[in-house]
């Protein structure tokens, strides 16, 4: 390990600007002569738009234009597309109703935009928006899946009878039925995986500017994947050639999935800037973020696990209803299907699995990926169900997991995935050790003396990252590739600019990717800059989501560096009058094997750009690009142990200890990896104990601000105990798997298993998330009644 290569806890290169206020986020950008947009949004969840009167707003001070869906349609701007086609079990394609950026005939959720006011100042646009008079005919909203699925319920979209977008299945139904018929015990569980609001601290924003001279439009936007935004906006929505649309995602203040998707506001701002021939800027107010950032989770599930008399899992049957909200968000259809039900084997050898997922339209904000995206739902279901089975059968919770672990790799699950590597036993042992599992009963007894109910909970889980390969995903309905691009531009004096299609919005790529260059090319990391987030500078990219950047983006950079070394070897061989086959490269030096004849990396790069003494058949320059399409997903896994104390008088759950042993593959920067773990754990604990997006029956969002939606605060959390239990990914050149979502996937079931353990003696079998004081108190009261 070098001081700055793989494995080094290098302090982050990007921190200097973030710590001194010189970061450049979208809202920090001001363009000359820019206008400001403010959206007029529906206050109703379901209504017919009878009329929009813009007269008073048009005349308000500073107003340049008030635009509605009619003008958008007149200019032939299309609806927002969905990036993944799911087929129902009867073979029919999912229902894809139109998703207009500005609603024209009907609004379908509170926050659905109906008009945009563009004015000289932000305040003028906001003031004038109050003057836009929309005549709504309010209709009864289907604000929950229960309402939308009720017999005879009105349709959210005419295209989707019964409000079903698709009715999808995976696994072998007959084999699963047979497994249940021979079971000694069947554990059953009904559970809710509640709706979450992503809440990146930077609100979404966009500025668009049209340059008449070059006929080019530039959009600065808060995106995790600017090339995807460009592709969707240019090719599918606006009908622009891609080379005439430049999308820049500058510093982005957190994503957590919510900034993957193409949103209405980005389209409208881009269209308005072209139409008005002036830059147009929009920044969400937090209340708009709550209403319009795509939400996450929102499943209702019934699950059954069949076991033999020894506690071996025989079969798993899952029936899930997944809320998609009012419209299909960009990847909304893929989350409750291929990112969820394919993970239902978990760490276990369950031979037969069958899952049925019905995706439902409701009059609520669209639902899509939020940190974990489908995999937390799978892990929560499975790890709760395993605990229920263990309790019912009187088997130790740790032993039932050990008994069913997959131990031989590669392992083909009955739900499509092939796990390449892992060591679930090692991770479990490490986590139990970190948590002092053995000493728990003494701590429980001590807490009891203080009147507290202490519980300990465990989850052992696997997840899937770096979704791939493109051809397989395409066969399953993906409408995009799943590769990544990387370019290594070596400058004449040996410094390096890295261009990556991955996008950093907190993950620290500017440091991690520089470490890869330090490791493989031997270049000092201070001589390496990483460029990302600009479609004009980076050839192409799929961006950052699903914990893919190191596994896919990092691997692309590795491949590009191999090309640099290959070409450099030819140049060095020429300079040293040797055969390329006799030249080796290590730590920044080309050497004729077995001799002291060497050329430094910078000597070779200089020769590449000043090719006076140079191989005759070789192009000058040292600038290489690679596109990497992975062979498989990666499979991070881990074991999380959580200890809680419940106050039986108040229902308050105190988090006493969180101990984790994770297998995230090769660790490039342990400081950054641990930081990702901490953040994921906080997000997962937020889901387990605090966060819940709630609507009333009329579709009003009850949790529309930080006053009513409970975000994890510093005082809600303990410090975390982290251990690693690493196995390398076998199919990418770095051995990395991914870390960004591990915490939010693994920890929620561990928290709830601990809460249930604390309350088990009272007869409590299950507690839904979030385990708020009120909910826990009610369980205690009911159990004692």
């Amino acid at each position: 390990m070098s001081d700055t290569g793989i494995g080094a806890a290098v302090r982050r290169k990007e921190d200097a600007r973030f710590l001194t206020g010189t970061g450049r986020y979208t809202d920090d950008i001001t363009r000359p002569d820019q206008l400001h947009a403010h959206f007029v949004r529906s206050p109703l969840a379901r209504a017919v738009i009878r009329k929009i009167d813009t007269g008073a707003a048009d005349k308000a001070p500073g107003v340049v234009a008030v635009l509605t869906g009619k003008e958008l349609a007149d200019d032939k701007v299309g609806g927002l597309p969905c990036g993944w086609l799911i087929h129902s079990k009867d073979g029919s394609p999912m229902k894809e109703p139109p998703h207009p950026p500005l609603a024209v005939t009907e609004v379908r959720y509170v926050g659905d935009a109906v008009a945009v006011v563009v004015a000289e100042s932000r305040q003028q646009a906001k003031d004038a928006a109050q003057l836009v008079a929309v005549d709504y005919e309010e209709l009864a909203a289907m604000a929950s899946m229960e309402a939308a699925l009720a017999e005879g319920a009105p349709q959210v979209h005419a295209e989707a009878p019964g409000n079903i977008c698709f009715d999808w299945e995976i696994g072998d139904e007959a084999a699963t039925k047979a497994a249940f018929e021979k079971a000694a015990h069947v554990a059953k569980l009904d559970l809710v995986n509640q709706r979450l609001i992503p809440n990146a601290i930077e609100p979404r924003a966009a500025i668009a500017e049209y340059d008449r001279a070059s006929d080019t439009t530039t959009v600065w936007t808060t995106s995790q994947n600017p090339h995807v935004a460009r592709l969707l906006m240019a090719a599918f929505v606006m009908g622009l050639p891609e080379h005439k649309l430049r999308v820049i995602a500058p510093d982005v203040g957190g994503g957590f999935g919510s900034k993957i998707f193409l949103y209405a506001e980005e389209v409208v701002v881009t269209w308005a800037a072209r139409r008005l021939a002036r830059p147009v800027k929009w920044t969400a107010e937090r209340s708009e973020s709550f209403q319009t950032d795509a939400h996450g989770r929102d499943h209702i599930t019934h699950a059954e696990l069949a076991l033999d008399e020894d506690g071996k899992f025989l079969g798993l049957r899952v029936d899930t209803k997944a809320n998609l909200g009012a419209y299909l968000s960009t990847f909304g259809s893929s989350i409750p299907t291929y990112l969820y039900a394919t993970l239902l084997a978990g760490c276990y050898t369950t031979p037969a699995i069958y899952a049925n997922v019905k995706a439902v339209f409701t009059h609520t904000t669209p639902v899509d990926a939020v940190r974990g995206a489908g995999r937390p739902e799978a892990a929560f279901l499975l790890e709760r169900l395993v605990d229920v089975a263990a309790r019912e059968m009187g088997i130790d919770r740790v032993e039932i997991r050990r008994k069913n672990f997959i131990t031989n790799f590669p392992y083909q699950t009955p739900v499509a995935l092939e796990y390449d590597a892992g060591d679930y036993v090692a991770a479990l042992d490490k986590a139990l050790d970190l948590a002092d599992w053995k000493g728990f009963e003494a701590r429980r007894a001590e807490a009891k003396k203080r009147g507290r109910l202490r519980g300990i909970g465990l989850s052992t889980f696997v997840e899937a990252c770096g979704i791939a390969p493109s051809a397989v995903a395409g066969a399953l309905g993906a409408r995009a590739g799943l590769f990544e691009s990387g370019q290594i531009r070596v400058h004449p004096t040996g410094s390096v600019t890295v261009y990556t299609g991955s996008h950093s919005h907190g993950q620290g790529h500017e440091t991690t990717f520089a470490q890869l260059v330090s490791e493989f090319l031997g270049v000092d990391i201070d001589q390496v800059d990483v460029v990302h987030g600009d479609t004009e500078q980076v050839a192409f990219g799929m961006g950052t989501y699903g914990s893919r950047s190191a596994a896919v983006g990092g691997s692309a950079l590795y491949m590009a560096m191999q090309k640099v070394i290959e070409k450099g070897t030819k140049i060095a061989a020429h300079l040293m009058e040797a055969s390329p086959a006799d030249v080796e490269f290590d730590k920044g030096t080309f050497r004729v094997k077995g001799t002291d004849k060497t050329k430094a990396f910078a000597e070779v790069s200089l020769a590449a750009y000043v090719p006076h003494d140079y191989p005759a058949d070789l192009e000058p320059g040292l600038d290489e690009t690679a596109f990497y399409d992975p062979k498989n997903f990666t499979f991070p896994a881990g074991a999380h142990v959580v200890e809680v104390e419940v106050d039986p008088e108040t229902g308050v759950v105190e988090l006493v200890s969180v101990a984790c042993a994770d297998d995230v593959g090769t660790v490039i920067n342990p400081m950054i990896v641990d930081g990702q773990m901490h953040g994921g754990l906080a997000h997962g604990i937020g889901q387990a104990l605090l966060e819940h997006a709630r609507y009333d029956d009329s579709g009003q969002l009850l949790t529309g601000s930080y006053m009513s939606y409970s975000m994890p605060r510093a005082s809600d959390l303990p410090s975390f105990k982290l251990g690693h239990s690493i196995t390398a990914c076998t199919h990418n050149p770095l051995g990395v798997k991914g870390v960004g979502e591990v915490g939010s996937i693994g920890v929620p079931p561990a928290v709830i298993n601990a809460v249930v353990d604390a309350l088990a003696d009272l007869g409590v079998k299950h507690v839904d998330m979030p385990a708020t004081p009120e909910r826990v108190w009610r369980h205690i009261q009911q159990a004692q009644a």
Binding site: R11, R12, E14, D15, A16, R17, F18, L19, T20, G21, T22, G23, R24, Y25, D27, D28, T30, Q123, N199, A200, I201, E202, P203, D251, V252, G253, G254, F256, T283, E285, R286, S287, H505, G506, Q507, G508, M671, I672, D674, G675, H678, G679, G680, L681, A682, H683, S705, Y706, M707, M711, P712, R713, A714, S715, L717, S719, F720, G743
Partner: protein
């Protein structure tokens, strides 16, 4: 329109402003000090925290006119001659930031804490940061950074 005169990062600044202008808008839009961020509209997230007379204040709920004559420090004014303030350095050393959006508010809030309590315990830091939301770090490393920064400031 009235004018407001205040000292920002040691320099006297005067601006003619609409009476409803918030301090954060004066800083970001008129003085181009975009290191101060806006993350919410209910005074909860703390991304807009600045120091007014050395005390942490949410600039999204302070009228610019209320800062008349005040000494205001933003994140841009914390380092001197290109050298990071000890609290900034501690955030870097302990990886107390990821996306950087909440960071200016976190750092300035921490500076205020350190000026009152040079050796804050973990629990004291966590309680103090109740008004600063971070979605990236889980606060684990922020707490370590604030303790180290307070100590480096002379606590």
């Amino acid at each position: 329109m009235p004018t407001v005169t205040l000292r920002v990062n040691g320099k006297e600044r005067t601006a003619e402003i609409d009476v409803r202008t918030l301090l954060v808008d004066l800083l970001r839009e008129r003085l181009q000090l975009t290191g101060t961020h806006v993350g919410c509209d209910t005074s909860q997230c703390g991304a807009c925290t600045v120091l007014v007379e050395g005390r942490s204040v949410k600039s999204c709920t302070t009228l610019a006119l209320d800062a008349e004559g005040a000494d205001v420090t933003t994140i841009e004014g914390l380092s001197t001659n290109g050298r990071l303030h000890p609290m900034q350095a501690a955030f870097k050393e302990h990886h107390g930031l990821q996306c950087g959006f909440c960071t200016p508010g976190m750092v300035l809030s921490a500076v205020d804490l350190a000026s009152r309590n040079g050796r804050p315990s973990e629990a004291e830091v966590r309680k103090w940061l109740d008004g600063n939301l971070c979605r990236c770090t889980g606060y684990h490393n922020i707490v370590k950074a604030v303790q180290a920064g307070a100590q480096a400031m002379g606590g």
